[in-house]
Symmetry: C2
């Protein structure tokens, strides 16, 4: 896109990094995390995180989610060995969704499939 | 993966297509939709759909979401021209998240960026 084709105001767009306090958590204190394979760009899974899960994700270099069913932090891979080492954490324009680009050990899905998205919508 | 390395029960995994009535909508009747560029696999955005939005998505061949702020169906591109023609609609193992692989006209993001995920998490 050349400069003349840019939408008005595009130059003013704030592309600066977002900190954990600037994220918009929902009324449960959660934010959706889309986990994408950094090697082949496949979408592996979607899960939820709270602020503490994201703090630990950032600090530990691997994905930590919040389990809505177990009501506890979920360090992905602690039980299965299927650890996700993140390469890049991205935030959307509204600061209410995260994309984590990861190096996946083994399968992301509890079924044993590499990605949770192995079925089509009819 | 060879047969001997498969996790127990993997052969019994149900990979059959999922219909709209078998999806697990949340307590607002919504399901998250991850929209991915079918051409370069970039994650473009995440939005929400209800059953009617998905019915129209399937019927019209283009993405229709539910706008949580405007409380109405949102036919992506009606205002902006940035229509999303879907190529494939995928459902996750729990049937509570959708991945839509689309051909994006113009920009997915209201800022004019092609993807909503143009910032990093600090």
């Amino acid at each position: 896109m050349t400069a003349g084709e840019r939408p008005p105001g595009a130059d003013d767009l704030d592309r600066s990094p977002v900190d954990l306090d600037s994220l918009r958590y929902d009324d449960r204190g959660l934010i959706p995390v889309i986990t994408q394979d950094a090697e082949n760009d496949e979408v592996l899974m979607m899960a939820w995180a709270n602020r503490e899960a994201l703090e630990r994700t950032v600090a530990e270099g691997r994905m930590v989610y919040w389990s809505r069913s177990r009501h506890e932090l979920w360090r992905k891979g602690d039980t299965s060995g299927h650890v996700q080492h993140w390469q890049e954490l991205l935030v959307d324009c509204d600061a209410d969704v995260i994309v984590a680009r990861v190096h996946q050990e083994g399968a992301a899905c509890h079924t044993g499939e590499r990605s949770c998205f192995f079925r089509s919508l009819r």
